[in-house]
């Protein structure tokens, strides 16, 4: 069974319909890339999955649990949402690291705060915290940042910041990790190091949804590619087929325009 099932998600801002009936599913350990022109609704879709926006309709199911149901009018309580959104992680285009904390503290902070709710926190505080730190160090090492742990974000390059942000999202072990154009804010020479760690995550069977404008990357890393246009999924399927050999005219136009620009 799919770990994530998205069905008939709609979202409108005032009068503009930004998402119009989005449905797709994702198997555990698989990667889906989402491509599409500016304004097609890619960011909005990720924000809906992470409960930063509330869809107007549709359902979101993770591991069999319905996290969101547009037909169920009962208001979503803040506490419930906090629990539900932990199924997802989100890596932002602009990193959004916390500037007053070191790389290590950025990765540890949320987990520490969550640990405070554990009944045995008071008793085993020392041990719990050292475990959290240990995990954070491992994650940063995995991101190739073993000698950057005590640096503040302003002391890091964009590529390093984004890798800290990835470690920070991974620290909460989300079921599904979402990326919103993770390399769009980076100089071309820094893009590669971020794409590399994402590829490594894919090789380790991390379930991911990646919105990107890097077509070659989208094709190579993903098990499935979704092309969005004007709030619809126009085409989805095998990465090589969608990107090298699209069926739909709209996809072809988008990719052709894209080739010209690059």
């Amino acid at each position: 069974m799919a770990i994530l099932e998205v069905k008939h998600i709609c979202k409108r801002f005032d009068d503009t319909e930004v998402l119009k009936d989005i449905s797709f599913s994702l198997e555990k350990g698989q990667v889906v890339s989402i491509i599409g022109s500016s304004g097609s609704g890619k960011t909005t879709l990720l924000r809906c999955l992470n409960f930063l926006e509330q869809p107007d309709g549709g359902t979101i199911t993770v591991g069999g649990e319905v996290l969101f149901d547009g037909a169920d009018p009962s208001a979503q309580k803040e506490k419930e949402i906090r629990r539900k959104r932990l199924h997802f992680g989100l890596v932002f285009q602009s990193f959004n690291l916390f500037p007053q904390y070191t790389a290590l503290r950025n990765v540890m902070l949320a987990k520490e705060l969550l640990a405070k709710q554990r009944p045995d926190y008071k008793k085993n505080k020392k041990q719990i915290l050292s475990e959290i730190e240990e995990e954070a160090r491992n994650l940063l090492t995995q991101m190739g940042l073993e000698d950057r742990m005590d640096n503040y974000p302003y002391q890091l390059s964009g590529g390093q910041c984004q890798r800290v942000a990835i470690a920070r999202a991974l620290a909460l072990s989300p079921d599904i990790l979402c990326f919103d154009e993770p390399t769009s804010a980076l100089d071309p020479e820094l893009t590669g190091e971020v794409l590399k760690v994402i590829k490594e995550l894919a090789a380790k069977k991390t379930t991911m949804i990646i919105v990107t404008h890097e077509m070659a990357f989208a094709r190579d890393v993903a098990n499935q590619v979704i092309f969005m246009d004007d709030g619809y999924i126009v085409e989805q399927g095998d990465p090589v087929q969608v990107i090298n050999n699209p069926r739909e005219e709209r996809t072809r136009q988008f990719l052709a325009r894209f080739d010209q620009e690059n």
Partner: protein, 214 residues
């Protein structure tokens, strides 16, 4: 004579300092409340707060002092507030409004992304406020706050218009009693020393927050 004057000015300085410290003590929390009001999503509240802040910032503090001191008596026939308390009330309201604008600017300068990053990491609103945004806001508002607080030191001299005996009043009285004007100018030394200390303290605070950048 010099010692008589110095002693008298020191006595005035004590009143000045009390007014200064008490104003800060009350105006900072009140300013925070006012800034939340001015950012409220409830439009009528926001409107009322904005008009209030506009009136307070748009009229001289000296008039506000007189209104607080004489107003209740003239309007409702109430007894006058004790002089010092009247001054304090006027100062707290006035400075709370100025501070509220600084706080609002500081809070609104934090990018949405900081809140959203906290949210997707499962933090509560208060955790985001205390663990993520507060220190960034403080860092941003230290320079404008230090300006405003140094202005407050000098504004306390307005208290003499309803005969609260702060330092300028104490300097001025020697003109009448002894026909000398230098004590009035001598008060500047006290202001300079006091503001010098404040400037150093704010400098230290800024330095302490220098380890990160927002």
């Amino acid at each position: 004579m010099f010692w008589t004057v110095t002693l008298s000015l020191m006595k005035g300085m004590l009143t000045t300092f009390q007014l200064f410290a008490l104003t800060l003590l009350f105006a900072i929390p009140l300013g925070l409340v006012v800034s939340f009001g001015s950012m409220s999503r409830f439009t009528p509240l926001r409107g009322v707060v904005k008009v209030f802040v506009w009136i307070i910032r748009g009229t001289p503090l000296m008039l506000q002092l007189l209104v607080v001191y004489y107003g209740p008596g003239l309007l409702f026939d109430w007894d006058l507030l004790p002089r010092f308390q009247a001054v304090l009330v006027a100062f707290v309201i006035n400075y709370a409004c100025y501070f509220s604008e600084i706080f609002r600017g500081g809070i609104q300068s934090i990018s949405r992304g900081q809140y959203e990053a906290g949210e997707v990491l499962g933090m509560t609103r208060s955790q985001i406020f205390f663990k993520v945004t507060l220190l960034q806001v403080i860092k941003r508002i230290v320079p404008p706050m230090s300006n405003e607080i140094i202005t407050l030191v000098k504004d306390t001299s307005l208290a003499r218009i309803i005969a609260v005996y702060e330092i300028i009043w104490n300097g001025q009285k020697f003109i009448k009693s002894d026909g000398i004007i230098w004590p009035l100018f001598y008060t500047a030394v006290f202001y300079l020393l006091f503001n010098g200390v404040l400037t150093i303290l704010f400098g230290l605070l800024e330095k302490k927050l220098d380890y990160f950048r927002v």
